[in-house]
Symmetry: D3
Subunit: 139 residues, 6 copies
């Protein structure tokens, strides 16, 4: 059940085909998951979304690929995004996440969920020492 | 401004003093941030919260200390917990987070925020291949 | 699967029948969707909820009916309310939302999700110029 | 700093005055907190909001007034609504919430925040036994 | 469908068996719900989570058991945690929650959801009178 | 107070200057708000964020500019993003949002917040008629 219809012939549109081909090439796999299949209802939105995700998740950057997936899962859990939790947990496992790492991720995510509630309840003033801005811009 | 009163003499309570002493010893620093100072209004809640956070964040585990802080920040941003964002961003910097790593963290957190919205809108069915359970328990 | 039981004879209660009749009359349709059918477990809650929704969504106001549905969808996506996303996306389509408009809605909702994360991370001070209150009440 | 301007002479509008008078009478106090003062920028929205809140929070119902405030605080913490957390924590104290009760509330709210994260991560199937609907409507 | 595999022989691990035995003893029931069954993929995480939940929810404290369940439900609804909503609504019913109480809970939770949105939109300054801290610590 | 330091000389970096110049040209104004000033701590993140926001919010599309701002505000309120609420409410006013439209926006946002809570509590099954996918892809 989705809010858009799955198109059986989406790749007949050359804009969709170009994105799907790039997904296959980037991932070195023929499998295209439902997110992209359904997003193809709007080729422009498909293209800009894929390019945004690819540039962040599939390009080398300061963080390694597995760490980026762990962070992605943490946000998706907190936003209660069922599909995203499933797809990025699978992606993290494909990039080396063991059960032990997954348990540790859940432990941190749960601890943050716990203390976030305490602080949003207590409304404690932020310590001056945490302020990066305190180091004022030089004249 | 907080929903509890800051106690100037909280450490007169030996339960509070024991926790504060452990915070100082664990962090090798005399500084105790406002979260713990305010939480001292209930010594039992202070103790169980500190012990929970310490066991997850200050003990060696599958994930390294900096990665755990990055995940903590990701959850705190998504929950819009202002204090937590400030305190854990400061903690991450203390554990080696550079501006380059921070920008990369924000990039992943923002990308997840973006696609979480798309998937929560599209309500795409989860691909069967993502199902860990498909590998059924053995009889 | 629900947290309340669906009553097969809910309309035997005249309070429920009155609300259902008003739903049918307002929508010019015999169809009553599950939200109202299940909410009938408490006739008073059913009545006050329907009246609240009707007064906001079914009465002429500053915003046109389609725009109100788009805003409703935006909130429901962000709150990860699966039922609400489905029912209000269907309602928006019934009020003229094309695939092109839907893609544009998703684009804005996703962009907001992305920058919300950046700002909740950066904790940037609000510009004084955004403050409506700066125009102080006249003595 | 607010997104609307505070009107110094809001009560000159008889619709605003009627609401403010009812707030004072209901609460047996001359104090009107900022929420209502600012909401007065739109008298109709002020009126319908006050009447909705009053009918739920200030009328006798299945739950006692303090329990209702505790539930209100729990939602407001989870939604990270700073003003709501402050105003309803103050209201709960006025209705008898001690520091001991407040600590217990925070303990439950934090525990829920913790396990919500675990379940939103694990995506565990809901046990059939929890399904109220399993008791099907009688033909 | 879950992000971890259900183990058919989890209780062969003595750490898992000890927790399951304690769940059965605490609840005086042989039934163990899916949360714990799936969480058993990591015996340490299972143990610390159960002990945390048990100490808050199953020990006598300032709030009675039913009130604690109502607060738990309120948080779980707001976090859109489907499993948690189902399991704690069932738990609340087992502890005496009638349909009348449930409707009242939903009424308060919905009212808070409504005003949280208004306040997060209006960004009204918090009234000084709500500030517990105004009562400064004594020198 | 921010988690990054404001750079007084950010425009000395030609990548930052190029973005700031484009912001000024696009908005036909010399004013650059704090979001972009602080985001300049990472010129690449600044550039990709501005280009993403500009392509969605400042280009003609299916939705008119004011409607897009209203949707942006709705998401920002629900995510409790204080800065975003302030900046996009100001932007909406600059694009023609009157107090009457703003009150109507808040009314819809609040109603959605209210019913989202009810549905996330009731966990009502989605009506088959809402399923866009029911219209299966043609073979």
């Amino acid at each position: 059940m989705s809010t858009v219809k799955l198109l059986s012939d989406a790749e007949k549109d050359p804009r969709v085909k170009a994105v799907f081909d790039d997904i296959r090439a980037t991932r070195k796999s023929d499998f295209i998951n439902n997110f992209w299949l359904y997003l193809a209802f709007d080729p422009a939105l498909l293209k800009e979304t894929w390019e945004g995700v690819k540039s962040v998740m599939a390009q080398p950057s300061a963080l390694d690929p597995l760490t980026k997936e762990l962070i992605y899962i943490a946000v998706s859990i907190t936003n209660s995004c069922r599909y995203c939790v499933h797809s990025h947990t699978a992606a993290a496992r494909a990039k080396g996440m063991t059960d032990e790492i997954y348990a540790d991720l859940l432990r941190v995510v749960a601890t943050a969920g716990r203390t976030n509630q305490l602080l949003n309840g207590l409304q404690v003033p932020v310590d001056a020492v945490f302020d990066m801005e305190a180091q004022k811009p030089d004249a």
